[in-house]
């Protein structure tokens, strides 16, 4: 297997047999051919986990807490109609004992306190119709009191969840096709 050899030649990388978040979303076990096929690309497997941590549990959260981030993850998973990912985010969110406002944000409410209403509007737009984004949408976030680091951190979170849901969807289709 040339591919195995090329990975081995890169050295020092341990291709883990531990189930990660993506395996759980797709329903893979170490015996599945697709579980093994994912490990042809250890840099994708590891990189996705590192990115997930960087947007959900960063060392510096820029003042955007884990409860808010997980609630937005749940909201976006539901917008993408991905039940398994939504259940995954819901379990993580509920473990933090979120406030009723955060739960309402997670479950798609729009009649929220500010700045949550402004965040919700933005997250829905960028998730469902990124093509419609304009400079005015970023100006709304700034007007709601978000700093530039918060606007970038929020953008990375939104973009990551939309990446995550597509990888999970694609792998699930491979598994069932």
């Amino acid at each position: 297997m040339d591919r195995f050899n090329s990975i081995a030649a890169q050295g020092n990388r341990v291709v883990t047999d531990v189930l990660d978040d993506m395996d759980r979303l797709v329903g893979l076990t170490p015996e599945d051919a697709l579980f093994k096929a994912r490990r042809f690309r250890p840099e994708f497997v590891d990189g996705t986990e590192i990115c997930r941590a960087s947007v959900l549990h960063p060392a510096n959260d820029q003042g955007l807490g884990a409860d808010l981030r997980l609630a937005l993850g749940l909201r976006m998973a539901q917008l993408n109609a991905h039940k398994t990912l939504a259940a995954d985010y819901r379990a993580q969110l509920l473990a933090l004992e979120p406030t009723p406002q955060i739960i309402a944000l997670a479950d798609g409410a729009t009649d929220l306190e500010e700045p949550l209403a402004t965040i919700a509007r933005h997250v829905d737009l960028i998730t469902l119709e990124p093509i419609k984004a304009t400079a005015g949408d970023i100006a709304r976030l700034a007007a709601a009191g978000f700093s530039n680091p918060q606007i970038v951190a929020l953008s990375e979170l939104i973009a990551f969840v939309n990446f995550q849901v597509r990888v999970a969807t694609g792998l699930s289709l491979m598994r069932s096709a």
């Binding site: 840099e43 990115c51 960087s54 993408n80 990124p130 606007i151 973009a159 939309n162 792998l171 096709a177």
Partner: protein
């Protein structure tokens, strides 16, 4: 016969003020991999350096997905990126990756067919890749098992399809940064 398209590169400008190198924290400088003597770092990098941890993590993953050796050929990855960028409306990304596809294949044929919205002129392998890229990029996804079957029917193995899924998906990410945080202009 339609004349071939040669797209000119665009420049990107952020909607928010990027990090100034003179005011950057040590972590931001490390993320941008610049020394205090560096004169020029792109506005894109300086904008995303506002949140250095996610910038570094994503950049490492992006480079692996688009440029790692073996597996899916590079033009196919670029075609996946282009299909996603068209659906997501990121003009800047679409031009960059259309140009890269043309460079790699030494042909403007695919880019021309897509620019004139004539995907029926694509060959069967390119059509299977492009259709999957468009359908997986919709929100919610419109991709089906038939799309995977179409990729397999043109000879793609599981490792190549996994590479393609990642190339399309990472542009579900990149497009939501470039098109949301800034705008593209002609040079």
């Amino acid at each position: 016969m339609i004349s071939s398209v040669r797209l000119k590169p665009l420049t990107w400008h952020p909607h928010i003020a990027p990090v100034e190198l003179s005011e950057a924290t040590p972590e931001q400088l490390e993320a941008m991999k610049v020394t205090p003597s560096a004169k020029k770092v792109s506005e894109y990098v300086r904008t995303l350096a506002h949140d250095p941890e996610s910038y570094v993590a994503r950049t490492v993953l992006f480079n692996a997905i688009m440029y790692v050796d073996g597996g899916l050929d590079k033009p196919a990855r670029e075609l996946g990126a282009l299909g996603a960028s068209i659906v997501n409306g990121c003009k800047y990304c679409a031009v960059v990756h259309a140009r890269r596809h043309a460079e790699l294949t030494k042909s403007d044929d695919v880019v021309t067919a897509l620019y004139f919205e004539r995907p029926e002129e694509l060959g069967p392998r390119d059509a299977a890749i492009y259709n999957f890229a468009r359908r997986l990029s919709a929100a919610p996804s419109e991709a089906t098992q038939e799309d995977i079957a179409a990729l397999r029917s043109v000879g793609m193995d599981d490792a190549e399809i996994i590479d393609l899924i990642h190339a399309i998906s990472i542009f579900g990410w990149a497009n939501r940064l470039m098109h949301v945080l800034g705008h593209a202009e002609s040079k």
